[in-house]
Amino acid sequence: MTREVSARQLEREAYRRRQTRRRIAVGLASTIVVLGALVAGVVTAPGWDRVRETFFSWHHAKAAFPDIADAFWLNIRLFLVVEVLVLAVALLVAVVRVVPSPALLPFKILATVYTDVFRGVPTLLVVLLVGFGFPALNLGGIPTSLFWLGAIALTLSYGAYVAEVLRAGIVSVHPTQWASGRALGLGYGQTLRHIVLPQAIRRVAPPLINDFVSLQKDTALLSAIGLVEALRAASVYQANTFNFTSIGVAGLFFIAVTIPLARFTDWLGIRALRRQSGA
């Protein structure tokens, strides 16, 4: 469809286009200046040559890469397993804490104590306690592999954080949504499952994924109980060569998985906004 457009309107549109071009130019210029200054600042530092050789040596990066890549596979497996376990534990704990059933009182107390204690204790401490303490119990049925002990430790620690995130989401759903669900004849559990949880999880997706990003990094803590994951492999290389480049390489591996997850979270947030506003 074509409209007759007045000369004044054409002027206005030309002005808007100029403004858009100006904004793009300003954005580019500002980016180049700021990033350029940052890089220049580091590169011109008096100790830069020394730092480059010790931390950013291409030769050492290549040499350390295969071992770290192998070890990083362990981080990925740990992360995938723990993520599933954390979601299950956290959902259970969060639901137990919000359900208004007197019969569940002892479990509500346990759940509260659990979230309070495990959010308060440093994750490294939990890793050490589980990694060295559980096997010492000599109980049948407790896994003895370091992989599973590590997974349990991280699950305990992160389950407490994620449980609170989920609970906050559940509580933030407006009471009228509960009422509307019950008014349709759905039971408490059905309302929770079909009405409240879907809204709650959408709402807390950003902090939830934030915790998972943090979990990815914290798989490195399991090096403390002797699991040869990426950071451990990097430290071994560093101890043999007195060059820190391997540590940086391990860092790149972690970044390579956390950045896509962060962008994915951004995208989820934007999509949710678009859907709800109907655009």
Partner: protein, 241 residues
């Protein structure tokens, strides 16, 4: 004071405002009537520069306010708008809702803004609610505060977009009384409404919109009592039945 000429607004292939012309004199109260989708709300949103326009001029006195180079904030300082959904700031008390604009935008002192706000609140019978928060008020009370919040900026032009449409019929009267009071005080008002009885009482001029065009306009006695256009007649028959 306000002169609109050839105003056009298009969404995709849909022409919402079709080369619309309208003049509003200082102190005039203009009521926009028309079915949903006739362009009433879009017109008001364009006047407050909330929507970019696709053609035509909007002039406030002699300034073309839909010039993309204009200082939008300076224009909005002269134009107040109140929406259907109140939009009070829920984290601020009633008093702070009303004083925020005068203090931060006009630079009025805290004490003076407070005195002015309390005076305005007293005028709408809400001085006792000054320290309450919006969620503790009824819809009618919230909308009265929203009106006062806009008026506290002493706008030259006040735009009202179906300010009573979200309200319980019992509460419509108290909000319209405030509008009536403002109109009597000489405030220039352009309002979209479905309250035909109110428009008959208070409007200086009724503007009937259909398909983004003005199909009929004039004093209420003429447009409401002897409508000339078929579309106006159909609309009135449905709304007065």
């Amino acid at each position: 004071m306000l002169t609109i000429s050839g105003l056009t607004k298009v969404y995709g292939d849909h022409v919402v405002l079709d080369a619309l012309d309208l003049h509003v004199a200082a102190g005039e109260v203009v009521c926009l009537l028309g079915a949903s989708g006739s362009g009433k709300s879009t017109l008001l949103r364009c006047l407050d520069l909330l929507e970019p326009t696709d053609d035509g001029d909007i002039r406030l006195d002699d300034v073309e306010i839909n010039d993309p180079a204009i200082d939008v904030d300076a224009v909005r300082r002269q134009i107040g708008i109140v929406f259907q959904a109140y939009n009070l700031f829920p984290h601020l008390s009633v008093l702070d809702n009303v004083t925020l604009g005068p203090r931060k935008v006009l630079g009025v002192s805290r004490g003076q803004a407070r005195r002015q706000a309390l005076e305005l609140l007293a005028r709408v019978g809400l001085e006792s609610k000054a320290s309450a928060y919006p969620d503790a008020l009824s819809g009618g009370q919230q909308q009265r505060v929203a009106l006062i919040r806009a008026v506290a900026m002493t706008p030259r032009l006040l735009l009202l977009d179906e300010v009573t449409s979200a309200l319980d019929p019992m509460l419509v009267g108290e909000v319209l009384d405030v509008v009536r009071d403002l109109a009597a005080g000489g405030q220039t008002i352009v309002m979209a409404t479905h309250e035909i009885g109110f428009a008959r009482d208070v409007a200086d001029r009724i503007v009937f919109l259909d398909g983004g065009r003005i199909v009929e306009q004039g004093p209420p006695s003429q447009v409401l009592t002897h409508p000339q256009d078929e579309r106006t007649r159909t609309f009135l028959a449905r709304h007065l039945a």
